[in-house]
Symmetry: C2
Subunit: 247 residues, 2 copies
């Protein structure tokens, strides 16, 4: 449990060479600062599809910056129900939940083969104390996570099934685009059940909504492969509940 079964790559990591540095913790840092930040990254770690990066209850030791791949975070409710709280892709930092109680509070599992930079928290604290802009970036990353979750609360609290799914697809689209991938064509790494869990819906509802969008020509979907055909109309789905009321 202390030593993860997954491969520990001991090669030295250079943020300066990483094409994610503009999305990741060291965003906006100067060359010399970058050098200091590179001292944080102890190792990289590979997680194969289906394996956990960490589990709820594990001692909190590190944050992780996703280099490559795709993960989900899940919470287990007392009655055994699994709630997906987020999906994570390259450039995003995971493990922030562990800081408060010095233990992780959710499971984070790879949905495809994934590679992360391991950022030992103690070392991160030390370096951040010496590099104000890193300190600042860390707080911004945490704040952004809070804002993101507010958005999810809005989604879960006030949207209906198709609005939720549209918002979800558009969000994915935008995140892929920010990483240099196509914003109109991508692969859903997660299952319908996982999408449903995240959106507070059953997998059948997700499937039906996808079929409906496809039938209306908003998207094309074949298994996990998704193509957005009409992002404007997909965006319009978000405001659809109003158009009925505000006549």
């Amino acid at each position: 449990m202390a030593v993860p079964s997954t491969c520990l790559a001991s090669l030295r990591v250079a943020c300066s060479n990483c094409n994610l540095r503009e999305l990741c913790l060291p965003v906006g840092l100067s060359g010399t600062e970058l050098g200091q930040v590179e001292q944080i990254v102890a190792t990289r770690r590979k997680i194969r599809r289906g394996e956990a990066l960490f589990r709820a209850g594990d001692r909190f030791e590190s944050l992780y910056a996703v280099r490559l791949g795709f993960l989900k975070s899940t919470l287990m409710s007392p009655d055994g129900h699994e709630q997906v709280t987020g999906f994570h892709m390259a450039g995003e930092v995971v493990g922030l939940d562990g800081i408060s109680a010095e233990a992780h509070t959710c499971d984070t599992v790879a949905l495809e083969d994934t590679e992360v930079c391991v950022l030992p928290y103690e070392r991160l604290e030390e370096i951040a104390a010496a590099v104000p802009s890193l300190q600042n970036n860390l707080r911004k990353v945490m704040s952004r996570e809070i804002v993101r979750e507010h958005g999810v609360m809005l989604l879960l609290g006030s949207m209906r099934a198709e609005e939720r799914l549209a918002a979800f697809l558009l969000n994915l689209s935008q995140r892929f685009e920010a990483r240099g991938y196509s914003r109109t064509e991508f692969v859903l790494r997660m299952t319908r059940a996982e999408i449903g869990s995240f959106l507070g819906l059953k997998l059948e509802t997700v499937s039906r909504a996808l079929s409906h969008f496809a039938q209306d020509g908003l998207i094309e979907v074949e298994q996990k492969h998704l193509r957005i055909l009409d992002s404007d109309r997909l965006r319009a789905v978000l405001g659809s509940s109003v158009s009925k009321e505000a006549h």
Copy 2:
């Protein structure tokens, strides 16, 4: 907009005298550290019921520690729907959402006359740089907010109306108890509509669920006044959806 219309109390504040210090940012700090932290608190600010502490879009300048009173944070969806993202009481820190974009992303409004300590963020950063345990506490407060929101996602994503309400009441109960108030008898400062917004329900559903709990002898409710009669059975409501499945 820059200068709030609410009263600025210029009297010097002493965390060391504050009976909330065990719940608030300076938790666990030594006497000398406490002295430094007190330099952060510039002023207190009073917000009357219905007034905003800050609004979405306001420039982010300070965090706020609630000294007294009760607030809600709300997000406005593009279609004009208001989503409550949280309720805040004494000892809690609000405004964390503003750090990421240097602007607030939600409205935070007093539900009763409220008093907060104003913590100018720049000064907070300076002092935190010199007081590691404060630095640490700030990150823990942020992380705790992330964990809290995970819990809300679980609630919104997987519970039904009465489970949500039970979870909500028990959460309030526990927070009141932590502040030295009764855990069985308290006043709901928010309206049914605000509870509903937070829980992803309509106000009628909240009202019906409360009536149902009252009818079953779990609670007593008269307007905003609430008394928990049987917290065990209220807790049992949370797991009720299982008992049907796991026969």
